[in-house]
Symmetry: D2
Subunit: 298 residues, 4 copies
Amino acid sequence: MRLGLIGLGKMGFHLGLNLMEHGHEVVAYDLSSDAVRRFTEAGGRGAASVAELADTLPAPRVVWLMVPHGKPVDDLLTAITPRLAPGDIVIEGGNSHYQDSVRRAAELKERGIHFLDVGTSGGIEGARHGACYMVGGDPDAFAQVEVLFRDTAVPGGYLYTGPSGSGHYAKMVHNGIEYGMMAAIGEGFEILEKSRYDYDFAALARVWSNGSVIRGWLMELTQRAFEKDPKLAGIRGVMHSSGEGKWTVQEALELQAAAPVIALSLLMRYRSLEDDTFTGKVVAALRNEFGGHAVERA
Amino acid sequence: MRLGLIGLGKMGFHLGLNLMEHGHEVVAYDLSSDAVRRFTEAGGRGAASVAELADTLPAPRVVWLMVPHGKPVDDLLTAITPRLAPGDIVIEGGNSHYQDSVRRAAELKERGIHFLDVGTSGGIEGARHGACYMVGGDPDAFAQVEVLFRDTAVPGGYLYTGPSGSGHYAKMVHNGIEYGMMAAIGEGFEILEKSRYDYDFAALARVWSNGSVIRGWLMELTQRAFEKDPKLAGIRGVMHSSGEGKWTVQEALELQAAAPVIALSLLMRYRSLEDDTFTGKVVAALRNEFGGHAVERA
Amino acid sequence: MRLGLIGLGKMGFHLGLNLMEHGHEVVAYDLSSDAVRRFTEAGGRGAASVAELADTLPAPRVVWLMVPHGKPVDDLLTAITPRLAPGDIVIEGGNSHYQDSVRRAAELKERGIHFLDVGTSGGIEGARHGACYMVGGDPDAFAQVEVLFRDTAVPGGYLYTGPSGSGHYAKMVHNGIEYGMMAAIGEGFEILEKSRYDYDFAALARVWSNGSVIRGWLMELTQRAFEKDPKLAGIRGVMHSSGEGKWTVQEALELQAAAPVIALSLLMRYRSLEDDTFTGKVVAALRNEFGGHAVERA
Amino acid sequence: MRLGLIGLGKMGFHLGLNLMEHGHEVVAYDLSSDAVRRFTEAGGRGAASVAELADTLPAPRVVWLMVPHGKPVDDLLTAITPRLAPGDIVIEGGNSHYQDSVRRAAELKERGIHFLDVGTSGGIEGARHGACYMVGGDPDAFAQVEVLFRDTAVPGGYLYTGPSGSGHYAKMVHNGIEYGMMAAIGEGFEILEKSRYDYDFAALARVWSNGSVIRGWLMELTQRAFEKDPKLAGIRGVMHSSGEGKWTVQEALELQAAAPVIALSLLMRYRSLEDDTFTGKVVAALRNEFGGHAVERA
């Protein structure tokens, strides 16, 4: 299938290679002409603009967006929509908020354009060698492009999840689970690190990757990280986040769903962004006030 | 290798089959003569008592315990120790507290007997077809019986972790991580279940088991559970626990390690044991006192 | 001062009495004519409509709203604004979201009308005998009506907090703290209730109300609740909430502020609304899958 | 009443003054002869040793211990017990673990000596001007010395709580509640501090101390702390702890009581002791492994 690919960042670039490896013809565009050049050097076809990209595609056009969520997606949709026609299909494979996807699907539907919201998991390696997709939107549109998902996912690694928004919603929750799992793994090694025993963390992550109840890709990546840096001495424990964990907790609040483990995994990320906390200052000051306990001076 | 196996419960029985499948000669004992009979019917050799079991083993004797932690282990050690001689090796593969293992290793060492504390993961399927072992204790004793671990683990699935207690300590932390991971998965599906979308949970767990960041055995088991009961309608959400999660949190408290995700996964298990809480009664009563908010009557 | 009071619910009614007790002339309106009649029977003046209420007030008019947050406030503002003139002052004393207050203040400002967002604490007793106010908005408008706050608050119990929204923002955070404090008290009694000792809870709350570090109004209310029902046997531990705790946590998420204690106090309220949880079902199912641990049947 | 007082630290010294102010004759001992001298300068009587202290007391002797928990208490009991006779009463007013108190009461009972475990709250100010006591132990012994509690507590500020251990148990839970309340207050100000508004924290704590639902001594102390240092700029947010919060959480674990708010208030104290966390390093490393997200270099 010939398709357009917009966004050649870490995920989009490798997805492009993956698509081509499976015989698809990819015309790619990125804000960075460097990225486009690298893609053409890797055997792909480049476009100098969104317009050019759209014009090279046969109807019904298939355009796969792989760009940061929020304004970039809206800007691109604004740019490309005039070039699209009824029956065309936009695949939005980034990490968008599901409510944005619901809105965008409705807006494009007014022009007869299909919009599939696709949660993509598996990281960069997945994009390159076999990803995992959760796809929401019109089922017929999904059927038309299903081959793209089948070809670039691992076997069994894609699912039509239901109406618009359900793909990104599932991805949001997936990331919430991921936050919790990562925090659990991290806390486990925190305890080991403080313990009386001197474990070989890479070896422990390796053995836990083989046959244990907690085996899985995250544990394999833990092993890999420890193999590179046995005590992670070179890494600061600052845990950034890119939105979906927060959205999951926000959604839990809306649904009145008790999700303390996911919530705490997020709050501890926020805590890691601070060198000191005002909470701590207040508590230390109070201990001083009532009990005369010494405070540490700033 | 000929060895004794004490404890033919879910784990021990399947471990026995696994050992035999790999050519080891297993003499097994259990408090339940039924269990012993089933084991002999499955091709094993039974012993009518701990004494008989010990007497059938050539020196140096190897005895593998697979019984519930606490008193059962101590009782068995009391019973069998008089039958053991310097150089013999006791493998304790249950879920014991590591401090018990440190103590037991020291007690047996006074008689020249080696004690290996072995954390065993992988569940019943692992015991039968390939487990995961974390082994603490004397390294020479470990080397003498390493073949048993190699044969019954999955490839790469065993590790000598260090001095006495380190095997069970690693298993304790492993279970703490497991608690956190399971809670994260559960909370994710709780959100999905309350959401506006009507997901096929089994299909979602399947796609997440294939190529996603959160793929792993727990997700595969989630898939399996949903395939049996698509909305888990037949299961009450009462989450029992068998000790190691609690020990992990207790250890975190001793080490002053902040492990909120693991701690919360444990506390929510405790919460699930209650139909109502006194905390809730107090808060509801307070809301009524200051704001006149109606309480629900018991 | 003569002023209008809209909303004669639990808070508004008692505030009206409080205002009158301090010599203010209160013209009150409520959707319920019964409420208005009760207020006139208590010595107040009633109005049959918002229009009538506005018309009885001398310029500059002062109208105090004490109604549920959200639509009721907007509806009343829509109804009354045409009757107001530049220089008039609207006091909004309910539990509104601060962003609504920022918006409303801006809308009214276009007509030259002042809008004060007032967080009100102290419960029904406070409304009647001495409340606590946090007031945001135009400082001159505040100065014009400060006497109302001074007269109806406890000594020292009102504060001009800054620009529009700051009053309701402070009240929101106040309620977040309140959630955390109430949960802490509840959990303490939960532990006592499960303990080996048979405490007299009312007596304990009484002694803690006298001289302890944790003395305060909430502990006095705890005492009062236990004096009515020593084991709270008649109350179910269902903890409803009316919004501000949730807003506090949402705001913490926006600010990337780690507020785990407040967050958990909210999530445990949500948990209390459920008889069972899907999280629990998933975890119980998983324990069954890997370890053969029995589940409880629904 | 003439009594012995052992321990002239912050709490003991002020308690001694308080007792004398109410007409009691206090013979005091402390490891520090300086402390004893200061006490005699303040009008008290000093003893050069535990033995001397015991010898100056008329039978039945009353000795009040106000020393750090653990070994200091046991050492003093070992030293003084030989000087005591049946019918004598030891008041232990420190922050001991209730299980230690149960043990000590049993040990002293064998010699006919009464042991009252007394949880003392109210901080240094309370010790000096009116404390809060929770008293466990023999009810007759309590009755004999009740006057001491009545005189040095605020009105209503003492309670006989039941058998041995119940006083310190109640104090332990009191401190657990205190941890939760302090964390809630701290988190509230953390949110305010990060907010768009520029609050006067001292003024806000003052208004919350007057008429609000969350008024109480901790809020008054918050006000006092902010009056000294408006943004707590001179204080680091390192939150030390002295044991009882941890004991409360440990007890909650034993009782399988879900106390997440108290637990988190403790875990965040532990978190504040660290500049960086291993949990954070692992999570940051994992994000890098699967998504190529940059880590911050140590």
